[in-house]
Amino acid sequence: MQRDRMDWIWFGGLWVLFTAIGEVLALGLNLLPGQYAEEAKVVDDAYVLLIALSVPVFALVAAVLLTAMLRFRTRVGPDGPTEDGPHIAYNKRVVRGWFIGSISLVLLVVINPGLVGLSEIRGESSADMVVEVTSQRWLWTFGFENGAETTTELVLPVDKRVRFDITSLDVVHSFWVPAFRTKIDAVPGRVTELFVTPNREAEPEEDVANLRVQCAEVCGLGHARMGVPIRIVPEAEFDAWVANLAEGE
């Protein structure tokens, strides 16, 4: 019995230790790129919450594995194993505890960040302006309300809620902006919608990998390079840019 208690102490100690180290690492290290939209916060908060919740789960399994490695190994002679472990085929308390733990964890995750996050990212459907996005292999075309069009860069005003109306002329593409933490497919014959509120001025050079519209659904030869840089500017500057763009045509 004494030995049995020591096993549990080892396991409990390792679990607490791994959880503590894991949480410090997970919450201390900044694993995420810069946020450039209101909606990105919802996604990042969900991401961080899920990491925080998965650390103890991970630590539990790691603690059992390490306890087993350290305490349950047996030397087996040349004739093969002769001694068996105890005949523990079931333990009502452990199984019940496991079910209660896993079911409550799942329900928690389904509610928050699950349904809460879902309502936040898909909730409000009003917008200050609309950008029409047309994709084709391997080109993005952005159309603005004054009729201006561009394919070389996407410029957006800061703090305005933008609705993107997205479609495709050929195969399925996917409109992804890592800095906004969102994407939706561009599907031939459909118009898909995405709402984004850029909240920080930005030049694409700040974060080339994230401040871009990138195709995220494989579409053939030019798929990897089907990307356009994004610039976020004050509203007045945007108005001037889009007016200038319309005149230039």
Partner: protein, 609 residues
């Protein structure tokens, strides 16, 4: 030469191909590379292949009232023939899929050379997309049939006390449908390859190069094989269990194989249907997925994932079985919460069919579907958690015999957990809209499919090697292999979680230079990982011929396959065994699983250290 069935199969296949395509050309005109010509050539060629390999000599001769002429092959030639022995078929599957796995692994390493640095390094973006698609479909095939085809065939009949499968000839056909799949896929470059990934989303898969039609034909054939296999395993377990082998006494691996077979038998058709619709859009001018003619690209995605999500459980359920089996015998403890584990497997079967649209949160699918699919997907982690409970409860306070199979099974627990936990990030809509189609997904499914399925296969290969060959593998090499690939695997795929979170999308030959560090680390580790597999191949090839004789039951394990000789005799048991107890009676003095009559066992005098 014609005595060797595989030669007859090749001749039959070639003759069939040219008859099929020639007749099509005769009636229709055109050229040999026209897709409709290829389709007819392939279908008739496939029939020719099967007739050549043995269907003519066995089945068809019987239909015409002639005596069947099965090939009398001995030694290694049996493995190139139309054998109806489930053990030969199991080895055929194992050898075939190890070769395919090594091919898929090589293609992955070539991809990692391209990805080690940003920019175009060794190949064009086109070539990269083709290689990536080939890697994907080859490895999916390995995962679907690697464990179920090899260990399912080899072990299920023995473990339930039967002399063979319920339909031995169908079993032979099931295996012999596999080589044409590999040939079809690998000859796709002749028609310009396919570049739409293993998922083959239209409209891309309708408008791309002609190699896509070979993908459609080959993968549909593979589906047929999978359906036959599922039917055979289910019928075998339902009807051929030895006296006393109640459902509650089935070894857990049999339950894994049964659960996976239920999915194979009932859901694979949806994948075949979706591919056939693509084939029709390509060849006969239908427009199922052409929006401008009233079709809908999303229709394909629903059909495709309706099979392809359950398919990951076809892959992983047998692997659950292997790992739980290894854990219980090598911890010398009964499987913890056996009934709960069986219940979990069956719940996974049911639930796997109602979660498919979590692959489609960013597809433009109606928003009201997101909540329910997120909920159902996250619910499936409860039965999956029970498998972990069973695994951990089994090793707790066991007498762990730290041999290579157990070490690999413990690495499996860690890796599959990683795959499962990161799966929650992809089931959650808010995080999925960022992570979908990025390297986060790539890392996630490599943890579940390579870390889960393939490591289960590796544990099983070591565990059952002495049974299949009669010889023991080299233990120290086995341990080094397990540690080597266990470490290299983490360093290959953990960086990819970070890459995906930081703006690297999947299926790209090129990426922003900011992401080079993580990619280089992943590439170097991938090479170390790939090199580690040489240890496995070397160990197995050497040990199969030179390893010390293992004896019948080197692990002193309780299930039926260890109670007969290594390798087992042709019909497994001289008399039907009688099952008198639960398979995992460890810790009860004198517990017996089965009474065997007429079996003489030998033990090895060699020290297996």
């Amino acid at each position: 030469m014609l005595k060797l069935p595989v030669i007859r199969a090749v001749i039959g296949g070639l003759v069939g191909y040219f008859v099929g395509s020639g007749l099509t050309l005769l009636f229709r005109g055109g050229s040999f590379t026209d897709e409709i010509v290829v389709v007819f050539g392939y279908v008739v060629g496939l029939i020719g292949w099967l007739l050549g390999v043995g269907v003519w000599n066995t089945w068809v001769r019987e239909w015409f009232g002639l005596p069947p002429k099965p090939d009398e092959l001995t030694g290694w030639q049996r493995y190139l023939g139309f054998s109806t022995d489930h053990k030969v078929i199991g080895v055929q599957y194992l050898a075939t899929f190890i070769i395919v796995m090594l091919l898929g692994g090589l293609s992955a390493m070539v991809m990692r050379i391209e990805l080690a640095q940003a920019g175009e390094t060794i190949m064009s973006a086109d070539r990269y997309n083709q290689l990536m698609s080939m890697h994907g479909i080859l490895m999916v095939a390995v995962a679907v049939a690697g464990v179920l085809g090899s260990f399912g065939n080899y072990l299920v009949p023995i473990m339930i006390g039967a002399d063979d499968m319920a339909f031995p000839r169908l079993n032979a056909v099931t295996y012999w449908l596999v080589p044409p799949v590999a040939i079809g896929l690998l000859s796709a470059p002749a028609l310009g390859s396919f570049d739409a990934g293993w998922t083959a989303y239209p409209p891309l898969s309708v408008v791309n190069n002609g190699g896509q039609i070979l993908f459609v034909l080959a993968v549909t054939t593979f589906g047929l094989s999978s359906i036959f296999g599922g039917l055979n395993i289910l019928t075998t377990v339902a009807t051929m269990r030895a006296p006393g082998m109640s459902w509650g006494r089935l070894p857990i691996f049999v339950w894994g194989a049964v659960s996976a077979s239920i999915i194979s038998l009932f859901v694979t058709q949806f994948f075949a249907a979706s591919l056939i619709l693509i084939g029709m859009d390509r060849t006969v001018g239908s427009a199922f997925f052409d929006a401008s003619a009233g079709g809908d690209p999303l229709l394909y995605q629903h059909l495709f994932w309706f099979y392809s999500h359950p398919a990951v459980y076809v892959m992983v359920l047998p692997s659950f079985g292997v790992v739980l089996e290894v854990l219980t015998h090598m911890s010398r403890k009964p499987l913890f919460a056996y009934k709960a584990a069986v219940g979990a497997m069956l719940s996974i079967v049911g639930m796997s069919c109602i979660v498919w649209a979590h692959h489609m949160f960013t597809s433009g699918m109606a928003t009201y579907l997101h909540g329910p699919f997120m909920f159902l997907t996250e619910l499936i982690s409860i039965p999956t958690g029970v498998i972990f409970l069973s695994a951990l409860g089994t090793i707790w306070r066991g007498k762990l015999w730290m041999k290579a199979p157990l070490l690999l099974a413990m690495i499996w627990i860690f890796q599959f957990l990683m795959g499962g936990v990161t799966g929650i990030f992809l089931a959650d809509v808010a995080t999925d809209v960022q992570l979908h189609d990025t390297y986060f997904v790539v890392a996630h499914f490599h943890y579940t499919i390579m870390g889960g399925v393939i490591f289960g296969l590796l544990a099983g290969i070591h565990y059952w090697f002495p049974k299949i060959t009669g010889r023991m593998y080299h233990e120290r090499t086995g341990i080094i292999f397990a540690v080597w690939v266990g470490l290299a695997f983490q360093f290959t795929f953990i960086p990819q979680f970070w890459l995906g979170t930081n703006g690297m999308n999947r299926r790209v030959a090129d990426y922003a230079t900011e992401l080079e560090g993580g990619n280089l680390l992943s590439s170097i580790s991938a090479f170390v990982l790939g090199a580690g597999f040489l240890l496995l191949v070397g160990n197995m090839l050497w040990s199969a011929r030179r390893g010390p004789p293992a004896g019948d039951n080197p692990w002193n394990a309780s299930t039926l396959e260890w109670q007969i000789s290594s390798p087992p005799p042709e019909h497994n048991f001289p008399h039907l065994p009688e099952i008198v107890g639960h398979p995992y009676g460890y810790g009860i003095a004198g517990a017996r699983h089965a009474e065997l009559v007429g079996v003489t066992t030998t033990t090895s005098e060699e020290d297996d250290q």
